[in-house]
């Protein structure tokens, strides 16, 4: 059985339906029954939050409690796709969606994720691909929500496992044949968010060519606690630039305990590029990464 022939779970189908229409995905299908344990949100007495995997992106985007406690989650949900998709698409589906690479999405072209032996984008047209070349496949991971959840140290619960970090579920990019490390038949039930920090704020920003409705060239979810003009806590995660959502630890380190001034921000923004390995056509993404990090750090600092 080729990878494409394993049973796929279907939540709202916003990703899967398009792949089945084009013929990229053909295997058996199983509709998820939206049972109560995977729908809706539950606030813990300790200030934590559990969000069911079947919760729609629109519901997350519109929830006032999330906007207050986890503004980076809310803003990410508001910033992705289009209103008609957000009304249908689920959190679990967003995390487990397949690559948007235009070679992967072309039914006539073989690639690593479709049982092929190499990545056609690497030596081909990879204008929208990774600038952190961490593995054999050069498609960026498409989940905006995963990058936001990474910023909040969220954990993922499946029907067989719990306490999984985003890297536990999405890997480190070294396996180019998959978009996630969920086992066959393993389904996401929900996510758990730890209690937010006292006084934290967050911003989400994506660089695109038009005003809306584009897969990000670069996207950042940034959280921080800034007191008396000094970054007490900073967390930066990036999407659109690597096969997995990335934490920008060098940039975080450069701001931790530092004053929110232009010079420090500029240094941190440059350090966001640490570890980058751009492809011939993706060098521009590092310039955009620097710009977006600067943008969110300035907003957090003021």
């Amino acid at each position: 059985m080729t990878p494409a022939m394993t049973t796929e779970f279907r939540a709202a189908g916003t990703d899967l339906s398009e792949r089945r229409r084009s013929g990229v995905s053909k295997g058996p299908l199983m509709d998820i029954v939206p049972a109560s344990d995977i729908s809706g949100m539950n606030w813990g007495a300790d200030g934590t939050l559990r969000i069911g995997a079947y919760t729609t992106i629109a519901a997350i985007a519109a929830d006032r409690g999330i906007a207050a406690a986890y503004p980076g989650i809310a803003a990410s949900a508001q910033g992705l796709a289009t209103p008609q998709i957000r009304h249908l698409a689920t959190l679990g589906g967003n995390i487990a969606q397949r690559s948007r690479c235009w070679y992967f999405r072309n039914p006539h072209i073989a690639c690593l994720k479709k049982g092929g032996t190499d990545c056609p984008a690497r030596d081909g047209n990879h204008l929208y691909h990774v600038a952190f070349d961490l593995g054999p496949c050069v498609a960026p991971h498409p989940s905006t929500m995963a990058a936001a959840l990474l910023a909040y140290d969220a954990t993922i619960i499946t029907y067989t496992r719990s306490g999984l970090s985003i890297p536990d579920v999405l890997g480190d990019g070294s396996n180019g044949t998959v978009d996630n490390l969920l086992q066959p038949g393993e389904m996401i039930r929900g996510i758990e968010l730890p209690k937010p920090l006292e006084g934290e704020r967050a911003f989400y920003k994506r660089a695109i060519s038009r005003a809306y409705a584009e897969w990000p060239l670069v996207e950042i979810c940034a959280r921080a606690v800034v007191k008396d003009g000094v970054f007490q806590f900073i967390r930066l995660t990036a999407g659109g630039i690597a096969p997995v959502p990335l934490r920008l630890k060098a940039a975080e380190g450069a701001m931790q305990g530092k004053a929110a001034n232009a010079l420090n921000i500029e240094v941190a923004a440059k350090l966001a590029m640490s570890g980058a390995k751009p492809l011939p056509m993706t060098g521009y993404k590092l310039d955009l990464l620097e710009g977006v990090v600067r943008d969110v750090l300035e907003k957090l600092g003021t």
Partner: protein, 896 residues
């Protein structure tokens, strides 16, 4: 079996896991107002309400609607028009109408939510832009949509009757308008095409037996030429007709095929290399497509390079020596550069589609076409049928932009399959086909040298253009630089570079935008070096009387007078203002006829024209109504049917200038007949004499034929071809004989002043406002002309900033085959657009009106580029000016 409640009725849902909600809505329930465009949740044309929330029905599994309440566009205004529908009609928030149902559904949901929470407050442009960000309109009706949604939310359409400036608007906002893709005959089959997966090869075996063995398959046919050669990925090989698309796709997959790969070459750079594989051997050259509106002229053709087409040059040898001399002397006024433009896809929202239906020896073809009459002629010729045995019908056409002007594969394949299967057959392309094989504006490399004279005149202009035409020829980019800015000498050379890519096609002002992108930036650069105001320099160098009036208007604009110099721009966000000029030819189609009748007291006008969203129905209705002192909606207009009198094609901006004059002649005759037959004259002082006469008139009919234009022209108005002397005369005659188009006197013109804001951190450009001055004579339908002008600007912004077909350079496969990778402008990318019509200049045309469709899009990309230069000091050398290119330029590095 599970059910849903749709528009108040209970309807069953299929058990098929792969059935989408849109399949049930359109096919099972025949609610065809909901449109399938992208099939990927990007464009919003399929939007329906599920339990009140707008969702993409193309991605929602039908099973998921079980127990839910669904509302389609047909359910929005079922009893009486919704305020949003009325607002769209009044504000002309639509053109071809194919995206309109999706916008209506989403806007109605927003309207309900807004009124419940905000009362009759007016939503801002930003709020409307965000809520409609999941909808795309290729005609660019966004300007009207902003106004319509704001007006409806603020309560302006809560009650009362309304009148739309567009006569068929009601059908488009209610979903009642039937397009070709909506036609369904009894026993109709669905046709699907097997396309080449290789860029160049010879097809061996083609075994249909396994396909024909599948239940529900009606026919399978070969589409190969005798040599069995395919020359691009996507070239049709075979086609199948079956009871539904799913079966047809299975049949296509079952065809046994063998092929032998031949060496291929992809794109402008590779195809020009000395040892590149040759795409068309001499004997095969007739198989190449055409990227122009008319036929081409002969040109040398060696290997993959066809050209130079240089007939419009003037003293080219002298130009070469002048430019070389200036280069040697390091003359600072010599402007040189190599500009590159991207491949722009037409992206009609209604795909290329045809339904062919034989009844005995009669063939009826519903087609999404830009020319019902000419298509009938082409079909009759190809299939050796008499004209009266072929009928082409197109009630509504969901966009064309040049890509639906000829006899396309969708039509011949539908006819061939219908004949083979002995059943009606529909062929409708999917979005990937639409974005790969239906033509495009070729990418180009335009090398330019511009030399001012010592006295401040224009001494020499040299333009050499290589166009990435794929399996097609006849690009004219450099050639167009002859008909503007007279110089002492011009060296103009056009080359087609042929490769194993799908053929390009004519696209709205073919060759115009790439020419303007290079020439208008060179003029801007010359003005800077000469320290002359860029509009002042154009006034000095451009002798056309229409444009000289537009320059006066542009110089008076506050945004122009208050613009800052580049040196004053600092900080992250920088604003700049740019200007550019464009022109197009005034074309009309000889022999165009219009019939005007009075029948039962009602006026009826008819001609075999089609309305692709440009408003030809309304132009005719307005013309008739005006002459009789009636309202346009009181005139019945019949179009979109080749059985009517011969009408013009919707290409070359020719419809208005072709149909208004014969309409006026027919009216003149009809009026005379009515008066002659009148038993009673209208009461003296009647304020509606014709209303009275019409009410009492017997049924009468008159028709008019497009007359030649008057030779009495305003000073300075002449055919642009006069500048080219005898060659221009020959060119004009060729156009008339070969392409049935006359190039008239006077030059439709546009001058645009555009303000942008550049985010220098993210390489992002936002167009803030556009002032577009247009001279196309008298405006026959003002609201619709404004919509055309604004839509042209929006399409020009797409060309300038976002749109590029992307291919795989090794296989020749189109990668940007979906609407998320081929990026057309959305509503939130729309600037504030100010349209200025200068109505003089075409008094020699009966009625005084010429076409607007093409000229208004020509100057947008260079005006945006000049504005970016004014803001940043970066000269954009390549389209589209995407973040990747701009950020690299801002950082002083070469882009990938």
């Amino acid at each position: 079996m599970s059910t849903m409640t749709i528009n108040g009725r209970v309807a069953p849902l299929p058990d098929d896991l792969d059935a989408m909600l849109i399949d049930v809505v359109r096919s099972d329930l025949d609610l065809t107002g909901t449109k399938l465009v992208c099939g990927a949740g990007v464009c919003g044309a399929c939007t329906v309400l599920v339990d009140g929330a707008p969702v993409a029905s193309c991605l929602m599994p039908a099973r998921a609607a079980a127990g839910k309440t669904v509302t389609t566009v047909e359910g929005i205004g079922a009893e009486k028009l919704h305020p949003v529908q009325k607002a769209f009609m009044v504000h002309d928030a639509l053109q071809c109408g194919f995206c309109t149902p999706g916008f209506i559904v989403e806007a109605a949901a927003f309207h309900g939510h807004w009124r419940a929470t905000r009362g009759t407050a007016t939503p801002s442009r930003d709020e409307i832009g965000a809520v409609l960000s999941g909808h795309l309109c290729r005609c660019g009706a966004y300007d009207g949509i902003f106004s319509a949604v704001a007006a409806a939310c603020s309560g302006q359409f809560d009650g009362g009757d309304i009148v739309s400036p567009r006569v068929e608007a009601r059908d488009k906002v209610t979903g009642a308008a039937k397009y070709t893709v909506d036609i369904k005959h009894e026993g109709q089959l669905e046709g699907v095409i097997l396309r080449s997966e290789i860029a160049h090869g010879k097809i061996g075996e083609l075994d249909f037996a396994p396909a024909l063995a599948l239940p529900g398959v009606g026919a399978a046919i070969s589409l190969l030429a005798e040599d069995r050669i395919v020359r691009f990925v996507g070239q049709p090989i075979a086609a199948v007709a079956a009871r539904d698309r799913k079966t047809a796709l299975a049949a296509i997959a079952a065809i046994r095929i063998t092929s032998e790969r031949l060496p291929s070459v992809i794109g402008l750079d590779e195809a020009r290399k000395p040892n590149a594989p040759v795409v068309f051997e001499k004997a095969d050259r007739k198989k190449a497509g055409n990227v122009s509106e008319g036929g081409g002229s002969p040109a040398p053709w060696k290997a993959n390079i066809r050209g130079p087409s240089a007939a419009f040059s003037l003293k080219p040898k002298l130009v070469r020596s002048w430019v070389e001399g200036a280069r040697q002397e390091k003359n600072p006024l010599l402007v040189e550069g190599v500009f590159r433009t991207g491949t722009q896809s037409h992206t009609c929202l209604e795909p290329h589609a045809t339904v062919a239906h034989f009844e005995g020896d009669r063939l009826t073809v519903h087609a999404s076409t830009q020319s019902v009459f000419h298509l009938m002629e082409l079909i009759a010729k190809r299939y050796k049928l008499d004209h009266d045995k072929v009928r082409v019908i197109a009630d509504h056409v969901g966009g064309g932009f040049g890509s639906k002007a000829s006899l396309g594969a969708e039509t011949t394949i539908a006819i061939d399959l219908a004949r083979a299967a002995n059943a009606p057959v529909r062929v409708a392309f999917d979005r990937h086909e639409e974005l790969s094989v239906t033509g495009y504006r070729p990418a180009s490399e335009v090398k330019i040298a511009l030399l001012p004279s010592e006295q401040g005149g224009l001494k020499a202009l040299s333009v050499t253009a290589y166009a990435d035409t794929g399996a097609a020829i006849n690009s004219t980019i450099a050639t167009l630089a002859r008909l503007i800015y007279p110089a002492e000498g011009k060296e103009l050379a056009d080359f087609d570079v042929i490769s194993n890519l799908p053929p390009g096609a004519a696209f709205r002002g073919p060759g115009g935008p790439p020419m303007a992108f290079a020439v208008e930036q060179a003029i801007d650069e010359a003005a800077l070096r000469m320290k002359v105001d860029p509009i002042e320099l154009r006034k000095r160098w451009d002798t056309d009387p229409n444009r000289r009036r537009l320059y006066e208007w542009a110089q008076g604009l506050d945004v122009w007078r208050n613009r800052k110099s580049r040196a004053e721009q600092t900080g992250r966000y920088r604003r700049g203002v740019g200007v550019a000029t464009g022109y197009w030819l005034y074309l009309w189609q000889p022999g165009s006829k219009v019939e005007v009748s009075v029948k039962g007291g009602r006026l009826i006008a008819s001609t075999a024209i089609q309305d692709i969203g440009t408003g030809s129905r309304t132009v005719i209705a307005n013309t008739v109504a005006r002459e009789f002192g009636l309202e346009p909606h009181e005139v019945e207009v019949h179009i979109g049917d080749s059985n009517l009198l011969v009408g013009p094609g919707s290409g070359g901006s020719r419809t208005t200038a072709s149909v208004v004059p014969p309409t006026l002649l027919a009216i003149q005759k009809l009026k005379a007949a009515i008066e002659k037959n009148a038993k009673r004259k209208p009461a003296p002082g009647s304020n509606a004499p014709w209303r009275e006469l019409l009410a009492a008139s017997p049924d009468l009919t008159a028709s008019g034929v497009r007359p030649e234009d008057s030779r009495q022209m305003a000073p300075g108005v002449e055919s642009p071809l006069k500048q080219v002397g005898i060659l221009g005369w020959i060119f004009g005659k060729m156009m008339r004989w070969m392409s049935n188009m006359v190039i008239g006197a006077g030059v439709p013109s546009s001058v645009q002043v555009i303000e942008v804001e550049v985010d220098t951190w993210l390489g992002h450009v936002r167009v803030l406002n556009v002032h577009t001055g247009i001279a196309v004579g008298k405006i026959a339908a003002p609201a619709l002309a404004r919509s055309q002008a604004a839509g042209s600007v929006i399409q020009g912004i797409g060309y300038a900033l976002y749109e590029a077909r992307e291919i795989d350079g090794r296989t020749g496969d189109t990668l940007s085959g979906g609407l998320e990778d081929y990026r057309i402008p959305g509503i939130a990318d729309t600037p504030v657009i100010d349209v200025h019509f200068d109505e003089a200049g075409f008094d020699h045309v009966l009625g005084g009106s010429v076409g607007i469709g093409e000229v208004a899009t020509v100057p947008t990309s260079p005006a945006v580029a000049n504005a970016i230069y004014n803001a940043t000091g970066i000269r954009p050398m390549e389209l589209p000016i995407r973040p990747d290119r701009l950020i690299s330029a801002l950082k002083g590095r070469a882009a990938a």
